[in-house]
Amino acid sequence: MADALSGQNSQRVVEHVQIARSRELGIDPLVLSGKRPLSTMGRRYTQDPLWLRIVLISLAAIVMGVLVVIPVINVFYEALRDGIVAYGRAIVGDPETRYSIVLTLTVAPLAVLCNVIFGIAAAWAVARFRFPGRTLVVTLIDVPLSVSPVVAGLAFVLLFGMQGFLGPWLRKQGIDILFTVPALILATTFVTLPYVARELIPVMEAIGPDEELAALSLGASGWQIFWRVTLPNIKWGLLYGIILCNARAMGEFGAVSVVSGRIPGETTTMPLQVEVLFQDFNSPAAFALASVLTLLAGVTLVLKGWVERHHAVTPHLTDQEGTDEQTQPTPKMSGSTVTV
């Protein structure tokens, strides 16, 4: 055990030195460590001709322009069409719109909070212990990703509706869930359930239990281990999961729409209010509110990029477990990809 550990450490030191040297020399660290050939001719043969590069880059730019850039610009153009005053009035002047902003800013953080607690518990259970049915638990966590939000909403209606399984009984206890804010929180929590857990499980698996075991052997209690060892190690992954989870929570439409009953000023969140305004043919107001959601999406992207850079950069600048991250890039924050 001790031998294996010191062997691992010296390996780390070697890699660390190689990385440092490769920085000095400006050479790819993988080349220096012999993992990638230093080829003088390779570049010429593996690079596409200039005309092809220009064509493909232009095509990609056009596709992204039509599909993403033009729509975003158009949101703001339509929102500001009648001037900044009308824009401001559309957002804060209408009490129902104002309420929808407050409601979204209440529902989303609550759903995120639930899923943060769940994500940490699930990652601890799945990444630190082996137990029968572990794969099944991981698959169950993924289920909300593939279920249509509308089906999710319907499922909650069947549970809490008046003809539902729990609805009549809850009614007797004086509790109404359907068409109230708690139903919105439940539906949003369902849809965003996997985001934090899916970020944390690979991060915790990559870090491994060594440090926690060391803390345990030094007499730390379970919560001390969590707060002092685990949480600092997973904080970037956690933050990343929170950002993704929150973006989805604020934008959720299908599930929330089904359970909300669309009661204006009571259960219409921002995305639902966009639909209400759109159906009222109040297009400028719909675009004004949509522009707020677009800005929030922009903030999400900026934060996401910031965390990605931090997560990639911090480890090998601050040393310690740094080399691990170098040789085996932490399970790339795959959130947006496979997660959605």
Partner: protein, 274 residues
């Protein structure tokens, strides 16, 4: 590394117990209620509910539009992933982060703006409508929106695989006299296929369940532009016995998405190996 199998670390019971209760209450209970309602119907009733002409048209549109959109997304996604990984050009970082926008942007916003862009007075519609391409409130609009939502999945699954491609194989192919196209076709593309299929399946799964954006762009005309999730919602809103019908259709959709989830899990395992 590795998990410790004797439960040395504390918190096993607490964390696993909480996880199981949470998943049961939030996922299994509601979906169970859905399945239980559907199972409670007798077979003839179930078939009558899920196999009406209107429902069949809705499935055909949902599946057809998702498959077409996912195919387009796969081509676009491969193009963008290739350009992002292989080429250096000004604005590359910006392009890279814009790929995530469809994920961060609420679907209602996407629906709203796309329904406007392709209308006769919209920025794109003013050129397209005179050419006879009426994309607003049509099936075409559904496909466009699904491509917007689906292509980031392909980019983000293919991108890391292109990054990890071995330069040696390409060099070898070049030295053996392959043209650039032959190298791509016979050396690079086979290595990318598993991730391309995974991205395709992810895009289909997402497209099948999409509701928020399509409500805005499609016009939701029964038999023409009505997708399955919309049919569920309209049956549900009719209330009464129609709720059971909605549940039956939802169960069909649920079965489709859960089978896709299983397929995707297999595919992801495969593309990690490949």
């Amino acid at each position: 590394m590795g998990r410790i199998s004797p439960k040395v670390l504390p918190g096993y019971g607490l964390s696993l117990g909480f996880t199981l209760v949470y998943v049961s209450v939030l996922v299994l209970l509601p979906l169970g209620a859905c399945v239980a309602t559907a199972v409670g119907m007798d077979w003839a009733e179930f078939v009558a509910a899920v196999w009406t002409p209107r429902a069949r048209a809705a499935y055909a549109l949902s599946f057809g539009a998702s498959l077409i959109a996912a195919s387009i997304s796969t081509i676009i996604g491969l193009l963008i992933a290739w350009v992002l990984v292989r080429y250096q050009f000004p604005g590359r970082r910006l392009l890279d982060s814009l790929v995530d926008l469809p994920f961060a942007l609420p679907t209602a916003v996407a629906g709203l703006v796309f329904s406007h862009l392709y209308s006769a007075e919209g920025w794109l519609g003013q050129f397209l409508v005179p050419l006879g391409i009426e994309a607003a409130y049509s099936r075409l609009a559904i496909v466009i929106v699904l491509v917007f939502i689906g292509f980031p999945f392909v980019v983000r699954t293919v991108q890391p695989v292109i990054q990890s491609l071995d330069a040696e194989e390409e060099e070898a192919a070049a030295l053996l006299g392959a043209t650039r196209w032959q190298t791509f076709r016979y050396v690079l593309l086979p290595a990318l296929v598993p991730s391309l299929i995974t991205g395709f399946a992810l895009a289909v799964a997402r497209g099948l369940g999409e509701y928020g954006s399509i409500v805005f762009v499609s016009g939701n005309m029964p038999y023409k532009t009505e997708i399955a999730p919309f049919l569920i919602v309209s049956r549900l809103e009719e209330g009464g016995g129609r709720v059971v019908e909605a549940t039956a259709i939802a169960t069909v959709l649920l079965a489709a998405s859960l089978s896709l989830l299983v397929v995707i899990n297999r595919l992801e395992a495969w593309s990690r190996k490949g």
